[in-house]
Amino acid sequence: MKYFTKTCLLLAVLFTSATALAQYNVTGTVKSESGEPLIGVSIIVKGSTTGTVTDFNGNFSINVRQDPAILEFSYTGFKSQEIEVSSSNSTVNTTLEEDIANLEEVVVTGLATSVKRKNLANAVEQINSRELTGITPQQTMDGALYGKFKGANISANSGAPGGGISIKLRGITSLTANSQPLFIIDGVYVDNSAVKAGFDVVSKSQAGGSQSVQDDPSNRIADIPLDDIETIEVLKGASAAAIYGSRAGAGVVIITTKRGQAGKTRVNLTQSVGINTLLNPLGQRSFDAQKVEDSFGADEVPVFQAAQSKGEIFDYEKELYGNTGVISNTNVSLSGGDEKTQFYGGFSYRDEEGIVRGTGYRKASARLNLDHELFNFFDVKLSSVYINSSADRGYFNNDNSGTTLGISYVSTPPWANLFPDADGNYPNNPYAGGNFLQTADQVTNNESVDRFIVGGIGEARLLTTDNNALRLILRGGTDYYTFGTKAIFPRTLQFQKGGNGTDGAAIVGNTLNTNSNFAAFLVHSYFTDSGISFTSQAGVTAENFNQNTVRSTATFLVGSQTNLDQASSIVAEQNRIIQKDRGFFVQEEVNFQDKLIATLGLRGDKSSNNGDPNKLYYYPKASLALNLHEFSFWNSPTFNQFKLRAAFGQSGNFPVFGAIYNSLDATIVDGSTGSLIATRRGNKTLGPERQTEVEVGFDLGLLNSKLTLDATYYIKNIDDLVLDVNVPTSSGFTRQWSNVGSLGNKGVEIGLTATPYNSRNFSWLSRTSFWLNRAEVTQLLVPAYNIGAFGATLGTYRIEEGKSPTQLVGITDNPNAEGGLEVFGDATPDFQISFLNAFSIRRLEFSFLIHWKAGGENINLTTLLSDLSGTSPDYDEVTLDPNGQVSNGDYRQQQLGVTAAPWIEDASYMRVREIGISYSIPRSSLGDIAGLKIGLSGRNLINVFNYNSYDPEVSNFGSNAISSAVEVTPFPSAKTVYFNLSATF
């Protein structure tokens, strides 16, 4: 059985070598340039299925039949190498060179095939485990991606423990439908919903008419354990992601977890301890009698003076946000197996406290990945992970009841005494709807997850000849979780007792999510003797999504009970989301001697979410890579790589579930349940959004790839944009999803990687990435309209033909402004730069990652709310009034109703996202321990911004397509310091 190995080096599984007579044994050692033995290097006899991996000390031993033969050495992150051996030359000691430019990296480009980066026609980004968590431990998977690849706008919604991050790839791809990328882990489509806790019942955050969720829920991709991840691939637009069809509109993130390596079982233990502290303390306004009189009236002055004379001016920022949150992060992994079966087991546990008392995050996960060769032509791979997590996220963000921690904090002056008496009874806060110390102590806002993600892949080599291979790949998986939310507002709270509120509220939600996906592919490879290869694939896919959320809100609680039936009033809501998608795809790839690589593909998709569930929507793709350096005319000693590439593709984005229905809602009056026309009008003609992306670029390698430069320009247009269109409300309806617009994005991504030094004693890697995106609404079939935030008085988004979809406009005193609205900013950054440097001096490693987001504005309403309560820390500064007369607090209040300018603020920042230093203790002094590394690291330790609140990275409205970048008293962000210890046995 001959098997052509070229196409699947990394997937390479270890095949039993057939027993034959004329064989000899080759042994040797593989090391890195710094002299460390490399564990798990894959060694394959070229042109055969015989292979092995290096053990724990970098040693290997392999039986070879051919004489002479060529051994191929390959290892993730290193350049592969070919070495000739023979029965007379059977000892190989070699050193692998680090693959700084990642040319050998294998990138998944088809649903079932992959290509080496050097032959890739797209700017697909890949992040490996070292880049992900190598510098410092991270809280969540999505949070670990900042600054690590180009073309992304990643933003945390708040500092609440447990995640809540929005990722947008190459600009805005949808205004209202899903804007978050599709996540696929080991072939399983994983859900990334953010399900609200439902505490708007108490906060009344929607009473002002805003329909959006403002509960700051976390998104479910935060569950994914980081330490198990081998690589993350990011397909940023349709040109790369077209084969994912209707679900790829916002890009695709493909996560591959670690797999077992044959040989002695290796155990790796990592333990980190750290602390969370408030990232950017603002301080409080310092008062004197005059200021108190001005802001609070003359009656308040004696109250202030009495408190002052008793020394009872409190630092409530410290009381509320000053908790030093202790973090512990533990990870144990096991890897081993024999030639037929390999396993990888990963166990991780993270426990962290937030900077607000009573908040925190705990996550435990266990993974088992198994690879087994069932027959010599059939392999199976199983991946499974179980996750259990619990997040206490505090009670924050916008409200209309003055009760959230943030709003009651900014409403309260420092002379208020909110501390409990000796019996633990909290006084009422006369300045706000709630006593935030009591609220922080007594309110529960917990999210908990129990999740299984299980996937299986079967691969059969149906036909293998010298230049033909036919494989059948079957893939299936399920993502099953129960997500619980629990928001408890006991009746002892200021805003629950004495007629304020509902004598306690318990809001308990349960979401049961079951996704399943199946696919079958046939892959045919054909190689000519002249070095041309053809890879053809065809397949079918099926995805089912089923989410069922049941939420019960109990009010008028009995005593201190929180059980739902210990209440005199209970409301239940249920929401089901059911979606079925079916699709097929075909793709043909031609590789002409690694000189010219062309791909053509087509995906067809249908979905129950479309107006017509059986209508197929087609998404084509085409790409071309030209490796000029592979041609014989290329003999530049300086430029060792020069690739030109171009790619085109289309993808879709489904309308949101339920958009096609005309429904009646339930409503209750006088003990009866009524039916009421839903505010959203159904649209039976609704179809998916269609994205067309073209990207062109080049990759340049100089001085044997010591310096590499890659540059990409893309144009990404979205047609049939689904908008949540306002309809005249006199129709009885408020909104309707409709295909009524087009959007254009264009952008540039440039990466420069340099390895000025790379020797055993000193190496230095430096990577600079630059990216920007510009978006424009190119067509709008409905009149321009404001959307998101809180109306034009305070600044709002505005969808307008010819303008950026993320422009921020507001009322203005400028008489020339068209329609009384002026553009005060744009939530999209002007550009972003990330700057990674890694130094290694003998055993010492030092790395840091700087991330600069230049430009982009926020609507900061925390400032407004603090001004109105006279508590803004900068109230008395005089920096805003152009005449230099009026204090900032007074000035901004004077502008209220005149212009929205004071609340639209520059949200640029420069952060040292990650910094870490570590030392590897020499092996000689360790006995049985194979490796021991200690270090210190930190996240967001240095932050430079001129934004008038805790963190410019914020979103009151969660991961909405637009209308993020609005701040209303969020959970403030934290910075983190860790001590790390890692041991390998």
């Binding site: 032509f377 009841s401 709807g433 709630g434 009010t555 409301v571 026309i677 309560s869 209220l896």
Partner: protein, 440 residues
């Protein structure tokens, strides 16, 4: 050979999986809610009741927002909100702030009222199409019910939209009727009430469905009295004074009856039900309603309607406005809110008599009100002008916080008499037409 067998098995597996995926997708009916199409085509009696309950429930929605809009512009009270400055900036016209055509105080009450109108239109379609075993009287009374409710809701919209006028024919969302002028709108509302009245009069004695406990008399006859009371209010706005008196005669108007007899929106703490949004606890902080200082400044000595406000422990201050008194119109968060009640009808009677120069009859009615609040009989000038002043005073204090002051002052061209609290504040004449009305 064994391998060949296994390969065959695998290959058949592949073919099988291919065939599995190629099946047709069936349309998934809405798993969460009943469908409009099904109910419109053939509703059951239970579904008719559901539609009525939907109407009764939603008539309460954003009612408080409506009151806050007209109550603040009418300088009856301040709605203070720590979390929303637009109450005290936009509604009072602070500085250059104006009423926004896409902000909650404009859009929410408007949309909620039309949502009820839509439900009433669905009820009309459903009752006309249903194959349920019901009598022609039941069909007729249901139509009368639906039209009366539509008129009530449209009048609330018109009160805020005023000279912008409103759409009355909104049955077809793809083909909405034109905006009528203010007087055309009022006439259309009156016509709808008259049609409803005629339908009800052919509607037998009992409805097909049950009404809420907010209707003291839930019979068809009782509902007709509600219809006529609304018609009297509309005729007053239309300045058809004979019409006012004629309608009052057929309504529950009772000069000597309880002022609070009428039709109410009801609230409860039951799960999913709404609470009285006009109620805040005494001495509330953060979110509250406090009396406009002029309420007590202008009240006559001895007038017991001082009880409609209550002194706070601490002055409430926000945005350069302050007040020492909470609004105290409702006793609890489950108190009912009147749609229309006898006290207003007595005042409508007085107003019609004044306008018809039947001043003695007017004084008789005004004295009923005056004596109830310990003011004694009217002793002022017996002139139309003086009595109109007296009427407006009585309306201001009798209907405090119930959404009348602003409309009354506008009807009599006296908006410029409303007090201004801060220099630069404005008294608006009407709300802007919601932005979305110009779309689609």
């Amino acid at each position: 050979m064994q391998f060949q067998i296994k390969k065959t098995i695998l290959f058949s597996l592949a073919i099988l999986s291919l065939s599995l995926f190629s099946c047709e997708l069936s349309e998934i009916p809405d798993p969460n809610n009943p469908s409009l199409e099904v109910i419109s085509a053939d509703a059951t009696v239970g579904e008719i009741q559901n539609l009525v309950d939907g109407i009764e429930s939603w008539m309460r929605d954003r009612h408080a927002t409506y009151f806050d809009g007209v109550g603040m512009i009418g300088r009856e009270y301040y709605r203070f909100s720590n979390s929303d400055p637009r109450f005290t900036s936009d509604l009072l016209g602070k500085g250059s702030a104006v009423l926004d055509n896409n902000t909650f105080y404009t859009t929410n009450p408007f949309a909620s009222r039309y949502r009820v109108v839509k439900n009433a239109n669905i009820l009309i379609t459903a009752i006309e199409n249903t194959s349920a075993p019901i009598t022609p009287e039941q069909v007729s009374s249901t139509l009368g019910y639906a039209k009366t409710i539509k008129a009530h809701e449209l009048l609330m919209v018109l009160n805020q939209q005023y000279n912008n006028g409103i759409r009355v024919d909104v049955a077809d969302p793809d083909n909405l009727g034109a905006f009528l002028s203010y007087s055309e709108s009022l006439n259309a509302i009156k016509a709808l009430l008259d049609e409803g009245h005629s339908d009800l009069s052919k509607g037998g004695s009992d409805f097909l469905f049950e009404l809420t406990s907010g209707y003291a008399d839930p019979s068809v006859a009782g509902f007709m009295e509600f219809n006529r009371a609304l018609a009297a209010r509309v005729d007053a706005y239309r300045e058809d004074w004979d019409g006012v008196l004629a309608n009052l005669a057929e309504s529950f108007f009772d000069m000597n009856g309880d002022f609070n007899t009428g039709v109410y929106n009801v609230f409860s703490t039951a799960g999913g039900d709404q609470l009285n949004g006009m109620w805040y606890p005494p001495n509330a902080t953060g979110e509250l309603r406090v009396a406009h200082p002029s309420y007590l400044a202008d009240i006559r000595p001895g007038d017991t309607r001082t009880s409609k406000v209550r002194q706070r422990d601490e002055t409430a201050t926000l945005d350069d406005l302050s007040s020492d008194y909470d609004v105290n119109v409702y006793a609890s968060n489950t108190s009912s809110i009147a749609r229309i009640r006898n006290e207003e009808l007595i005042l409508l009677y007085a107003e019609a008599r004044i306008q018809k120069d039947e001043l003695n009859e007017a004084v008789t009615a005004l004295n009923v009100i005056r004596n109830a609040y310990m003011l004694g009989d009217y002793t002022g000038a017996m002139s139309k002008g003086a009595l109109l002043d007296e009427l407006l005073y009585q309306r201001r204090y009798s209907l405090y916080g119930e959404g009348h002051r602003w409309i009354d002052m506008r009807r009599y061209g006296r908006l410029n008499e409303l007090p201004i609290d801060r220099s630069g504040d404005d008294v608006w004449e009407q709300f802007p037409r919601p932005m979305t009305e110009d779309q689609g």
